[in-house]
């Protein structure tokens, strides 16, 4: 097995022959990656919130407990349940939406995700197109505006639509204004990584909760819930076109995990990640245990049916997929983008003071 292609400590002869124009700084790669990833996250969270607010309206009155049961899975699929309860005593609609949309101390709030995407873009302002920058800047100003809360009050759906539109606009502009250099791969890598993560989480959380009541399958509430899962991943229309049938949990799982055409399915995302892997760091595909695990997961997706997966345990499967993707992200980040934080103010120390000159004698 070839060694991981981590940046060598002495600078290889191969590196020297790279023409400077094609050299990609690790810092720039890192900024592009986080820009893509954070914006995708903002979009996913906006969609998740939008869908679940609407779902509550469909339910009508379901009581405090019902509302709590509704929102906890949402928090869980964003991975922020623990942090939430540090700030709020109970999970009601106002608290959860506030926390996930605007909260300054929630790094995954829509507000902070857009801010982070824009800040990363700002670091590489001269490397992206002006159009891309302007969209991110506008999105940032939209969320930062004094009346942002009011706009949200007036219509959460319209508010989240706007956030999603910024993301779509950005992707379209990136597609049509950003050269297909190595940098492109980092934007895509960040985007599909985030998608794979969110799709599996949303499916996992809902499947987990809904399945025990599998006898109710076909009930009105469940159908609404499964529709919500699909809408949370922007998959409802695509699902209907593909299956032309009622919404069945098994089919939903199949669609979100195994579809080879839907751009948010796990399989699709992993294929895209694979494409990007082949173009990073000058085209030599990175190696290492994390990449091997990823390859194994991807090969499985090409071979397995949803029956196999459910038989083995969908939750375990999704959980493992998240872990593999997460390890891949860490490995790729450390290999190509890692930039040790420079904080000289706290890290640098002068060790000169000890050598006081103090001989005494007579």
């Amino acid at each position: 097995m070839p060694a991981a292609t981590a940046p060598s400590e002495t600078g290889s002869a191969a590196a020297r022959s790279a023409p400077p124009a094609t050299v990609m700084l690790s810092r720039v790669a890192s900024s592009l990656y986080w820009m893509g990833r954070y914006l995708e996250r903002a979009e996913n969270i906006a969609r998740l919130l939008d869908v679940n607010i609407q779902l509550l309206i469909d339910f009508g009155s379901i009581g405090d407990q019902g509302i709590k049961e509704h929102w906890i899975p949402v928090l869980r699929s964003a991975g922020d349940e623990e942090l939430f309860f540090q700030f709020y005593p109970k999970a009601d609609s106002a608290a959860v939406t506030e926390f996930m949309t605007f909260h300054r101390d929630n790094p995954n709030s829509v507000f902070n995700c857009v801010g982070a995407a824009r800040e990363n873009a700002r670091q590489v302002r001269d490397q992206i197109s002006m159009e891309m920058w302007e969209v991110l800047n506008e999105a940032h100003l939209f969320l930062q505006a004094k009346d942002a809360h009011q706009v949200w009050q007036d219509g959460p759906s319209a508010f989240y639509d706007q956030v999603k539109r910024f993301s779509h606009l950005f992707q379209g502009l990136a597609d049509s204004t950003f050269s297909r250099t190595e940098g492109w791969e980092y934007i895509q890598f960040g985007k599909f990584l985030e998608r794979a993560d969110k799709t599996t989480r949303i499916l996992d959380v809902k499947y987990h909760i809904l399945l025990p009541r599998a006898t109710d399958v076909g009930g009105a509430v469940d159908t609404a819930q499964w529709q919500a899962v699909l809408r949370s991943t922007s998959a409802l229309e695509a699902y209907r076109r593909f299956y032309v049938t009622e919404i069945l949990p098994r089919k939903v799982a199949e669609f979100l995990v195994l579809s080879d055409t839907f751009p948010r399915s796990l399989r699709f995302c992993l294929r895209q990640l694979d494409v990007s892997l082949g173009h990073m760091g000058g085209g030599q595909r990175p190696a290492g245990p994390a990449v091997d695990d990823f390859d194994r997961l991807r090969a499985g997706l090409e071979r397995l049916t949803i029956h196999d997966i459910i038989a083995e345990g969908l939750h375990e499967y999704l959980h493992n997929a998240q872990a593999v993707v997460g390890r891949l992200a860490t490995h790729i980040y450390d290999t190509f983008m890692h930039h040790p934080p420079v904080d000289l103010a706290s890290e640098i120390r002068f060790h000169q003071q000890e050598q006081q000159q103090q001989q005494q004698g007579l």
Partner: protein
């Protein structure tokens, strides 16, 4: 129409003689503008400003969380310099940079000019930017000043005078290039008629100069790797850094992108560490290497100075060039030219009094209300007293400062900068505004002066301050071809 009420008001005007005649080098400009209506010119002016905004020719406003970017105000009326005038300026600058470069080599090695009593050692040793750490450094091809932006002004008689030298990290070359691009779009015909020399070669010349000074044994097999080192996106000049890097086709890096290993510099890339041979740095000495200079610098690269000392990387400009920016050293440049080159200076300096010398000091203190006082180590119009326009309190304040620290001050008689027709949108007409000129000199295989430069204009009526930070704008600068082109040899 546009010049209908234009008056030179007793100043030296670049475009018109005292009798109101158009100077010959401005004939094409005058012809082009003569037929133009106010609205038409205003339209051109706005179109150019919009293009600057769209093109990102901006500087970021500090402390602005909204990410506002502003354009450096631009005036569409070009400043024209005749071939004969330019010849003098060019020769003068080449002579000056040659002498300054010899001076830097000398004071960081044998210090002959001090031993021979041409310049008092105290003037050099007490200069804030004199770098003791840099003593005995060997720099490739003995070039210290690779890029110099010298500020020139013209006095009442139209005589070119050197106002100050900028040998650290002179900025503004990107505006020179963008201004020309803008004028090409706004007045293509006028530009062609006038016979203007192109400035576009600047970035390529700069790159060639950088490659020329690569360390003698640079480890590359092909071209040396040149990078531009910027303080980062928050620096107000970041646009220029990114612009020049793009034009040269070199990576723009921050301190954290570079590492030093075994006295050699590398950049961190997705392909591992890539060796760097030449650094066009836009960071001041103080912040360059926290292990040598300011330990609290977050911008620099620890170990960079020793990598340069070991001869594995070239810094452009070199460390320690700032000493020549010192106003006390400015005072001595004519002597340097004489000492090192045995020539008389082609370009004059402004008469200067040194507060550190008792006789001069007495004169300065007596005449504060008639003089311009400058602190020796500041640039960009900071730390300055304009005596004739100052309040009694400001004068008292400076008197105390000068007496407390005479080394830090010089004084000059106020020079009435030349004026130039400049668009005043409120009036819908041209009016005279004071200007200066910053040509860019590159020192590579030979010394070249880019035929053009940045003409800065004080947009406020009557103001003599042209700095962009203080209400200045810029103009395109046209250097004309000689009337009769000699056929190429």
């Amino acid at each position: 129409m546009l010049f209908h009420e234009y008056a030179t008001e007793g100043f030296f005007d670049e475009m018109f003689t005292a009798d109101g005649e158009v100077r010959p080098q401005y004939r094409a400009v005058a012809d082009g503008l003569r037929g133009m209506e106010s609205a038409e010119f205003q339209h051109k002016q706005e179109a150019v400003e919009l293009a600057f905004m769209r093109g990102g020719v901006t500087f970021t406003v500090y402390n602005d969380t909204r990410g506002t970017e502003r354009i450096f105000p631009f005036d569409c009326v070009p400043r024209v310099i005749s071939a004969e005038e330019w010849d003098t300026v060019e020769r003068g600058l080449i002579q000056r940079i040659t002498a300054l470069n010899l001076f830097l080599h000398d004071i960081y090695h044998d210090q002959k000019i001090l031993k021979d009593r041409i310049i008092p050692p105290a003037h050099v040793l007490s200069a804030r930017h004199f770098r003791r750490e840099f003593m005995h450094f060997q720099v490739p091809r003995d070039i210290y000043v690779h890029i110099c932006g010298t500020d020139l002004i013209r006095d009442r008689d139209g005589r070119y005078l050197v106002l100050e030298d900028n040998l650290r990290c002179p900025s503004g070359a990107s505006y020179m290039l963008e201004n020309r691009a803008a004028i090409k779009r706004a007045f293509p015909e006028m530009l062609r008629q006038a016979g203007v020399r192109p400035v576009d070669d600047y970035a390529q010349s700069l790159l060639r100069a950088m490659q020329f000074v690569a360390p003698p044994g640079y480890r590359g097999d092909d071209h040396p790797t040149v990078v531009l080192l910027t303080p980062g996106v928050f620096n107000s000049a970041y646009f220029e850094h990114a612009f020049l890097a793009r034009q040269m086709g070199i990576p723009i890096v921050e301190g954290r992108d570079l590492v030093v290993r075994d006295f050699a510099v590398f950049m961190r890339t997705t392909r591992g560490l890539v060796p760097v041979d030449v650094i066009y740095r836009r960071i001041d000495d103080d912040f360059l290497d926290p292990s040598v200079f300011r330990a609290d610098s977050l911008l620099g690269v620890p170990g960079l100075v020793n990598a340069a000392r070991a001869g594995n990387v070239t810094l452009a400009n070199s460390i320690g060039t700032g000493v020549a920016d010192d106003k006390l050293i400015y005072y001595h440049v004519p002597r340097m030219i004489k000492y090192y080159l045995g020539e008389d200076p082609i370009l004059d300096s402004v008469d200067t009094y040194l507060a550190s010398e008792p006789k001069d000091r007495a004169y300065i203190i007596e005449n504060l209300d008639k003089l311009v006082v400058k602190s020796a180590n500041e640039a960009g119009g900071y730390g300055m007293l304009m005596g004739p326009w100052a309040s009694a309190r400001e004068i008292e304040d400076f008197r105390a400062q000068i007496l407390a620290n005479p080394r830090n001050f010089i004084a000059q008689p106020p020079i009435s900068l030349s004026r130039h027709p400049t668009w005043v949108p409120e009036n819908g007409a041209f009016a005279g505004r004071h200007i200066d000129l910053r040509p860019y000199v590159l020192y590579g295989e030979k010394i070249t002066v880019n035929p053009g430069g940045l003409t800065r204009v004080a947009l406020r009526p009557g103001s003599l301050v042209v700095n962009s930070s203080q209400g200045g704008g810029s103009k395109d600068t046209w250097v004309l071809r000689p009337a009769r082109e000699e056929p190429a040899a």
